[in-house]
Amino acid sequence: MKIVYTDNNATTKVADEVIQEMLPYFGELYGNPSSMHTFGDQTAKKIKEARQRVADLINADPEEIVFTSCGTESDNSAVYSAINTYPDKKHIITSNVEHPAINNLFKLLKRTKGYRVTFVPVDKKGLLNLDVLYKSLSDETALVSLMWANNETGVLFPIKEIAQKIRGKGILLHTDAVQAAGKVLVDVKASGVDMLSLSGHKIHAPKGVGVLYIKKGIKFSPFFIGGHQEKGRRGGTENAASIIGLGKAAELAKAHLPVMETKVRELRDYLQNQLLEKILSCSVNGDLERRLPNTLSIGFDAVEGESILLMLDREGICASSGSACTSGSLDPSHVLMAMEVPFKSAHGSIRFSLSHYNTREEMDHIITALVPVIERLRAMSPFWKDGKLV
């Protein structure tokens, strides 16, 4: 069965060019980049190139790039460094729709370290309440950590505007740009953030490699204590092949940015409009404008997400849901709940996240498959009768 992969906010296909770039470093070129011989130095040179490529993607300087093992490590490193930088400040700020790598860490700091945490709310479109954010800033605030783009809805936060408000207040600004990089322009200099997290496997590099951008001049205390690697900012022998792959992926992502804005956005809009037209009682979650070009979160009244996904799975379609039943907890996603998406459609919300590999034919396949799936599930739902929610 042909797979139609529209779960690119979960992970992406490793690009063929990336695999080719990595292969020698799994095989014959196994040298340690720290070694004092030419053999190891070949790896070091290639890592240097990767660092430059990643820096180019986000308009950073190569020395500002630290390679990590994943987005979660980058997020954790940034937060712990910030609170170590300002040990006397006991207030930290985030939003209530963050990825668990931030959300759960902030909850832990609140519970175990006595931090006062402000979880800034979002409105019904998933947009951040900037008034609450700005009013919560104080002399006690050590860190503001906000995602650039939301993984479930694709909604964008105005990081640049926020950075301008925070500047000069002695507060560090970290952004989790894991979902934004490669989909919209991420420019660290123009945005003015202090730290920024990236993940390789969201941009067609392999799993197990991430990046933390640390602005020059920002005090950083490492999370991994070890050797001198990454200029002492992250101990541990470099994951050379993956870092080299991420370098190639970053180069490709930069080249593909215009494709995201054109082809991918058009495919997403086509899928969205066709589903809204062909299926009754469904609605898009999140602001339609301030949103990633590849993401569609759409809720179908009176049916449940896991059932939809498993039926789509039979047609080779990969998507995901914010619904409880797929995540092991019982409530719908904290993102949709924070947006006050009504239960009637929150439980039946599906996320399609596209990449430049997707085609119009694949969108048509999804539309053709999804219409009867929703009909079938509604036919057995006690909340659906005579073509409407009851």
Binding site: E304, L330, H347
Partner: protein, 185 residues
């Protein structure tokens, strides 16, 4: 992905006895749109109190649909007295087991059946005895201690998996912990 048995997948993809039963003379409903799953069970009971037909309508995940389908297959041909003895484990066993996080789907089947039988007999199900502990999912302390005793539950997570209690806002988790301790003391 959930590790569903072939039987669960089969009952999800080809559910038996779906839809409204036109000549039903008993109906039992449980769950809600808010909870994320709900089941309406229809029974046709003959003069000898035997279930001659059963059907269901379900909103929920694959295991909720499969549990509902299995329930209707199990109870067809039973007398009400026999059906009243059915447990959620019987439903789960019929399906070759459910992931523990999904046990509440079988509990939902048992609850709907209980309500349908009461509906047939014209008995009003009285307010549940005990005190409501979980307000999100309307679960009482007696239901929790009962489930802990019968199923040997050890953690709040177990209780959530069986009864959903504590799976919403989480405010009642401390109270659930106390109840588990009181049973296991």
């Amino acid at each position: 992905m959930w590790d569903y048995t072939d039987k669960v997948k089969d009952h999800f993809l080809k559910p038996r006895n779906v839809g409204e039963l036109k000549d039903a003379n008993a109906v039992g409903e449980t769950g809600s749109l808010n909870c994320g799953d709900a089941l309406r069970l229809y029974l046709k009971v003959n003069e000898n109190e035997r279930i001659v037909d059963a059907s269901f309508m379900t909103f929920g995940c694959a295991s909720a649909v499969a549990s509902s389908s299995a329930l209707t297959e199990i109870i067809k041909g039973m007398t009400l007295t026999e059906a009243a003895k059915l447990t959620n484990e019987d439903i789960s066993d019929y399906l070759g087991g459910l992931p523990k996080e999904k046990m509440h789907c079988s509990v939902m089947g048992q609850a709907a059946l209980k309500k349908a039988i009461a509906n047939y007999r014209g008995v009003q199900i009285l307010e549940k005895p005990g005190q409501v502990v979980c307000e999100c999912f309307d679960v009482t302390d007696l239901e929790i201690t009962d489930a802990v005793k019968k199923n040997g539950l050890k953690t709040t997570e177990d209780v959530t998996n069986y009864l959903k209690a504590g799976g919403g806002c989480g405010k009642c988790l401390d109270r659930i912990e106390e109840l588990i301790e009181s049973v296991n003391a």
